[in-house]
Subunit: 150 residues, 4 copies
């Protein structure tokens, strides 16, 4: 199983949500499993895109309840670890795609870079080490070649 | 998604492995996702039974590498948490079915009972609170009614 | 720093509490740090014994709030991990002394034995691998020789 | 117990190490426990400053071995959780002081800000939300008033 983690805020504007949904959809088309934090906003949009394309969507939740997952998560993993679960998202993902995002997303970006995982950025934090892309297509094309090229 | 965690030792004899495979197969027939620790022995046999029946199999691994999962795990979740990941198996499962097993299995049984989850036992530890069954069929019939009846 | 984890239920009868307090006191006299889960019952009694003897007491809490620690914990470590923090108690302890206890204690005993740590038992679960003792003095004498002999 | 987490890279230049040692020393003078990741660089310098001043130093280690702690850690907490232990450092600290630092430090800064903890920065990442200070004295004066004022 090849996996990409899509990270971003639980609340986001329309532009970011459309971007996340398109990224999710294109990853699913490539047969890449979409890992998210399982909640709303960018996490839900990305899951929705992948789900509607028939892909596999995993949601690694901060809470103890599977029911907290958004409806497009096929495989909810309730952890009860709060924000600490961000590290599990990073560990479960072959690479990360950050879309927008606030401090939670930043912590995931930093953990990923710290542990040697590639991070592709779309309208996100400007941190050295992130590979910036400008469209869903560009991001997924790059992600696919990085993941499958391994 | 309804889930059952199947727990048991990484090394087990033929009888336990056949039991685990049959439990996995019957759970998959009921549409219940099989959660395991993702490694060998009972974990692999249960995953194999469910996988060959077309079910979903999740493996919550102690290591950082998806490749450590047995070949019948469709969704590997590498945690890097060692034995601490046993708590995640319990949290991700609606109930637990313990088959044989040693100290690792005992820790999962205890955590499950501590947090109010039902544990069905097949040739496993004799601990008050475990619901003992005597065949794969009996265990899965009971598990199904407990899970779906919620 | 040499450490012993004292594990047992959050609610316990007078006999177990006195035993736990005496074990804590004797460990502190030996200069051994007492690790507990930081809450009430056996955890509090053990911390109290060590604290009043001038020893170091660490409480590895399930919650996010240091204030949840009993008053005899000098070093509270809030984890926010719930019962999953049991694994941290085991990891932080050179060996474990189990006093009474219910399912939570059983999960710690099992994790300790699984990872090769000695477990000394006082009126606790009857699990193969536990070294049974019959008094606080006997338990601490044995613990001290096992810890310092390493 | 009042606590401050001092975060920064495992390798740092002389200027940062002197800064970290002075911050540790001044916190200990205020009776504030110093929490670090327990390893070298900024973590060691901060622990050393506090230790030599007679303060309490806690090291929350990524590994399973207490022996991995630097010699100025009085209370080593081995977690075996790798970088995931960064979240435990944040949770155990009333506030964070970031000194220099790379991606690991950034993940801690982000987690702290995400969960509403103050972060004081000394020559560290330039992230909105960090309160920038320019000397050890200024940082500890501010930290003390924020921690004790709660």
């Amino acid at each position: 199983m090849k996996t990409a983690g899509i990270i971003g805020a639980g609340k986001a504007d329309k532009e970011l949500l459309e971007l996340a949904e398109e990224v999710g959809r294109l990853l699913a088309k490539e047969g890449i499993t979409v890992i998210t934090g399982g909640l709303g906003g960018v996490m839900e949009a990305a899951s929705r895109g992948a789900f509607l394309e028939g892909g596999i969507t995993v949601g690694i939740l901060p809470t103890l309840k599977k029911e907290d997952a958004n409806p497009y998560v096929k495989i909810p993993i309730p952890t009860g670890m709060g924000e600490m679960r961000n590290a599990l998202i990073v560990r479960a993902s072959d690479l990360l795609i950050a879309i927008g995002g606030e401090y939670g997303t930043l912590s995931e970006i930093a953990l990923a870079l710290k542990t040697g995982k590639k991070v592709i950025g779309l309208k996100t934090w400007n941190i050295p080490g992130i590979i910036e892309c400008h469209s869903a297509e560009e991001a997924v094309r790059l992600a696919t070649s990085l993941i499958k090229g391994k």
